[in-house]
Amino acid sequence: MSTIHGEGTAALPSPKPKPVYTSLWRQSFRRLIKNKLAVLGFVVVAFMFAACFIGPLFSPYTDNKINMAFMNKAPSLKHWLGTDALGRDVLTRVLQAGRISLTVGLASMVLSVFVGSLLGVIAGYYRGIADQIIMRLADLLLTIPSLPLLFILGALLSEWKVPTEYRMYIVMLMLSIVGWPSLARMVRGQMLSLREREYMQATVVLGLRDRRKLFNHLLPNLVPLLIVIATLNIGGAILYESVLSYFGLGVMAPTPTWGNMIDAANNMIDFQDHPWLWIPPGFSIFATVIAINIFGDGLRDVLDPKQKR
């Protein structure tokens, strides 16, 4: 995957007005733009991010001040999604919760993609003992069901009295512990096939160092696959975080996340009479994850057509 094919002609003093750049990225981008569904997905994701990170700046209720005069009010013009039991504006809280949920999703994706692809590359490229150790560890973690594993890790957190403001970082760690093994396995599979290609034989003939083989020749071929996996991974991480936080084992109040806001549904009165407390965060999760999945699938069609499922 060389980047720019048109470079040679561009360097010549040719009469043509513009050099034609047809890098793989450009081609992919053009094809992606044509996929309306994927573009829509991207727009929704971008909107959710913008709303959550910028939106609260325009809200007059960001101080989360307790206002007893406005307890449990239904949605109105003043409070678009109503207020909660402490008189706080629900819309503002949903957006602030979105900041945490999206950050946790994004960060745990970065962590698990980093760890998973690093270990997968090492296992697939060096084989031997490193491969054995890494893959056996991955097998082990894949054998243990992930929800009970996450629950018990969450309970450990509660018992160790991790301060609530740090819990979100530990939740990221927990999600990546569960996330990396399947990723490492996939990357390793790719590496096993890539390392047998002819251009890799050429690098041996050229006497290139391992580092150059890995970073200049193997890794660029993995990047399209990794982008696709990473995108789809964010959605999964957001879903897991919401489950954990809903059951009180993830990020906890007072830090709001979409998951722990739905916790309001555990209270019979709020569940029946104040649905604006728990339905908006649920739909926020749904909208974000579906948009990410559709965009990720569009990316896969473009970047990794062989993997189409």
Partner: protein
């Protein structure tokens, strides 16, 4: 093939040992246990109880005892329910199985039918709508859709019961009993089917798309066979065959219950049992459950690999 299977089974056993040790350590090292949570007990009584349950021994020794008993078919004694763990599993697992088997059947049925039609009409408006619906199904947070449907269908419209397996205080027997259980099952089955149908339909759709492009389909059409016959006898068979490898992966889902769905719908299954015991720190039960799912997962993977070979003898094991 037999040497392969022997090797695989050996590896499975080693992995399960490692998994059991990891599971044990995770639960054993979590501070606090069933006895700590009981505020009625005096410190002396607590120490005495720990002595009785063997909780004061070092972790490795406790693990050795646990494993030794497990080999004799004894997975310990639930502290909160005062019954052997396996007896409790046997009591709850069939309720979970009932939910799982019905929803798995529905999921496969819907997935095959919709997948085949979507593949046949690839890129049509039907296909596009199906694809978007499938993405939606795959993106729903399970606990939220459960709560949402309870709110709409049970609380607001009062069509279906909000949870449980029987109406409280019900003494129905015979046909009335069956009817009541079916009535209570509808919502959880609906949610479980919805959650499972996304990825499976996509799987069948892409399988079918691959098959339709094959030469033998063209031959069948050239012979002048009816399109329906081409599609459902010639194509579908070959598209379905690879799916038998998925049967193994369904194993943990069939017998392991669903933690979230059973909890939300208050269904008396093994997942609900786990969630209840979680709050109580009933570790023998929690460890037993986690190990049980791990065993199912490992067996399921082996079954899948063997079926993979059965489905396509070209695949060497």
């Amino acid at each position: 093939m037999s040497t392969y299977i022997t090797k695989r089974i050996l590896y499975m056993i080693i992995i399960l040992f490692a998994a059991s040790f990891l599971i044990f350590c995770l639960y054993a090292l979590t501070p606090g246990d069933f006895i700590t949570g009981n505020i009625k007990l005096t410190p002396e009584r607590k120490a005495e109880l720990r002595e009785i349950y063997g909780l004061n021994k070092p972790v490795v020794e406790r693990y050795a005892i646990w494993m030794k008993n497990a080999f004799h078919g004894d997975f310990g004694y639930s502290l909160s329910q005062q019954k052997p763990v396996l007896t409790l599993f046997n009591q709850y697992i069939w309720n979970s199985f009932l939910l799982a088997i019905v929803s798995t059947f529905l999921t496969w049925l819907i997935a095959v039918v919709v997948g085949v039609i979507a593949a046949y009409k690839q890129y049509s408006w039907f296909d596009t709508i199906v694809m978007v619906a499938l993405f939606a199904a795959m993106s729903i947070p399970s606990f939220f859709i459960g709560l949402f449907l309870i709110k709409i269908m049970a609380v607001d419209w009062k069509w279906l019961p909000p949870g449980g397996m029987l109406t409280t205080g019900s003494t129905a027997t015979g046909f009335a009993y069956v009817k009541e259980v079916v009535h209570h099952m509808m919502l959880p089955v609906m949610v479980m089917t919805l959650l499972g149908v996304g990825s499976l339909t996509r799987y069948f759709r892409s399988n079918m798309i691959d098959v339709i492009k094959q030469d033998y389909i063209r031959t069948a059409r050239a012979k002048g066979l009816k399109e329906r016959k081409v599609l459902f006898t010639h194509a579908l068979r070959n598209a379905l065959l690879p799916a038998i490898t998925l049967v193994g992966f369904e194993l943990p889902a069939l017998f392991g219950g669903s933690l979230i769905i059973e909890k939300i719908f208050n269904w008396p299954g093994i997942g609900q049992l786990y969630m209840q015991s979680f709050g109580l720190r009933d570790y023998p039960l929690l460890m037993g459950f986690t190990l049980f799912i791990a065993i199912l997962t490992v067996i399921g993977t082996l079954v899948s690999d063997i079926l993979y070979h059965v489905a396509d003898p070209r695949v060497r094991l």
